[in-house]
Amino acid sequence: MSLLQKILTLFRGTAHEAGQAVVDANALKILDQEIRDAGNELIRSKEELTKVMAQRQLQANRSKDRFAKKAEYETYIAGALRQGNEQLAREVAERLAAVETDLKNDEQAIASYDASITQLKTAITATERKLARVKQQVDTVKATEAVQRAQTAVAARHSGATGKVTTALDSLERIQQRQAERGARLQAAAQLESETGDGDLNAKLANAGLLPESASVDNILERFREKPVQQLSHEPLSLPAVEIKDVEHVERKN
């Protein structure tokens, strides 16, 4: 059974009675067991790998000796044949045949060891990856637990005996309430301004062109009638005079 299957099975069994805490606690137990198993498996695989590699080395050494023997026999056979000693050559050739058979067997054995080594290395990589994943999972469960504990502490502090957890739903309601309050405040302020303040009167005065800042056509023409001709001459010197006149103008009105 896979890790998640085990945890889900546990979840089905306990979720509705005891809640997440039990699942987390048991998940941690399962994960710890998983880590131990994977750790043991890793040790076993590595021991096995060492053994197989040693066996391969021994086999390779034996094979090397046989190659030397083969070369030696080949020299003997050539020598015997040169001397025309067919009998001796045949005798050595028989030995050589046995060595060559052994060499063929060696080759097969070494190939078989190599296959085992590749297989074990793959298994070790897979176990190491699994171990890393399970350790990550333990960390996630622990982080989840830490956050849950903190959230429980915060909830207990805020809600007292009811145990209610403050959620995004409460925040949404708070946001909407604040927006409504702000809207109502702005509306009330605007209303207050127009009722009790000068808003209403000022609007009427502005319409009548009686406020100093109102830009009615009559006001503009009036300004020009008051100005001497020099204002139209575009001489820089005329500017301060205009400003002074404007200030006086406003002051008089006020």
Partner: protein
């Protein structure tokens, strides 16, 4: 390994979110609680471990869900399109609570953690608004 201790992260987050809005929750494994005034005082909780930074906020209590099947399906459909955060179900204070959470690499920068917190809060508010029709109070 984490580049942060809880205290270091607490200091950095206090600088970003205001000291009044950031506090250490005194539990066995030291977590950080952030209150976001602009998100209706939503509380976001952060826990650090060697391999991750876990950020979580409560979405809604399961008891407040009127149509659990509809709500669950809507959550599953929202989940893949939710940036930087996931929807889940857990137990807080012995009550089943839906949460919005994110997991970050332990070597995340302060800016990344800050972005995660703000995004998580926005997502939680958006999600609860979108899911309101499945809730009791809707």
């Amino acid at each position: 390994m984490s580049r942060w201790t809880t205290q270091e992260l607490l200091t950095r987050l206090a600088a970003s979110f205001g000291a009044d809005n950031v506090e250490e929750v005194p539990t066995a494994d030291a977590a950080i609680q952030i209150t976001l005034p602009e998100a209706g005082d939503l509380g976001v909780t952060i826990a650090l471990t060697d391999r991750e930074i876990f950020v979580s906020t409560p979405l809604v209590e399961a008891a407040q869900v009127r149509d659990a099947a509809g709500f669950n399906e809507a959550c599953l459909r929202l989940n893949p399109i939710n940036p930087l955060s996931n929807l889940g179900l857990t137990t807080i204070n012995d009550r089943d609570v839906y949460i919005v959470f994110g997991e970050m690499a332990p070597d995340s920068t302060a800016e990344q953690v800050e972005l995660e917190i703000r995004t998580l809060a926005d997502n939680a508010i958006d999600a609860v608004e979108a899911l309101k029709s499945y809730l009791v109070s809707a």
